[in-house]
């Protein structure tokens, strides 16, 4: 399957899904005009790829410095898809990079861990 790359804009993150290397990255800020329209095709591509994954070690690098409320909801769906893949025989490790002083991003990370227990979650506070 072809890799997925979407360049960052001021209001949407860079999406860099190296399906060939099993490494998925999301980087930047997320407050697009329509979060559902931005994330729906990404989640669709992700699901197609995940459905074909068997016994794969997947690494997800997340460096999101800000996301608005509607992006938060869509990100929850991204992690839901990853969790299902982890429950069906794949190993998913999420590296969650955040400003060490950013409690909101820490708390959202904790929320994800509560719901998506099949994912190995690695909190990575970064000093600024």
């Amino acid at each position: 399957m072809e890799n997925l790359f979407i360049a960052a804009t001021a209001t949407s993150p860079e999406i860099d899904f190296h399906f060939d290397e099993n490494v998925l990255s999301l980087r930047g800020e997320s407050y697009p005009e329509n979060a559902a329209a931005f994330y729906a095709p990404i989640i669709e591509r992700l699901n197609v790829w995940l459905n074909a994954c068997e016994n794969v070690a997947i690494t997800v690098e997340v460096t999101l410095t800000y996301f608005n409320s509607s992006s938060t909801k869509m990100l929850f769906s991204v992690f839901d898809a990853l969790d299902r893949a982890a429950s069906s025989g794949n190993r998913v490790q999420v590296n969650w990079y955040r400003d060490e002083e950013d409690e909101t991003i820490l708390e959202f990370g904790e929320e994800l861990q509560t719901d998506f227990t099949a994912i190995k979650f690695n909190d990575c506070p970064v000093a600024t």
Partner: protein, 187 residues
Amino acid sequence: MSGILDQNCCFFEIAQKRNLLFYHKGYFSHSIVAAMSEVVKLQLEVAGLSTSTRRRIFSSFIELSQNIVHYSCDALAEDQGQGGAIREGAMCISAEGERHLMVCVNPVATAAVGALREKLEPLRNMSIEEIKQAYKMSLRADTPPDSKGAGLGFLTMARDASAPLEFAFHPREGDTDTTLFCLKTII
């Protein structure tokens, strides 16, 4: 020259006295919000606020201004826009001692006032723990059909605020179909 100064100094004086960080009245579109974000970020950086305070002000700024883009009922005619929504409103950010006041005003359909009140009123009596709990539930719930976002916006603002959200509705002269909606958050 002095005429120009006389007419405008009153506005600048008030802005200075009230520690105005940001003010915009007029059209809001997604690209206008993106440009304003640059201004707000820079202002907050220069003001030397903590990461956490900056984060909460910026988050509330985005939620408030995207509310105007999506829900204000004063829209520019469709054909004038580049496909995206352009709607009218006003946004003000000012500092009062350690606190930051953010006030947003935009017209809404008078018929929508009841629904807005029902969403906002309960938040005023909730503790921060209850707000976080409601936020977690809303995060996992299906998106309401009338919402363009996640229905999480008000809860996000309430979570970031250091006092209950304040809101008011003002009837508009000569236009009973629309009502001015005023929303205020303190960070």
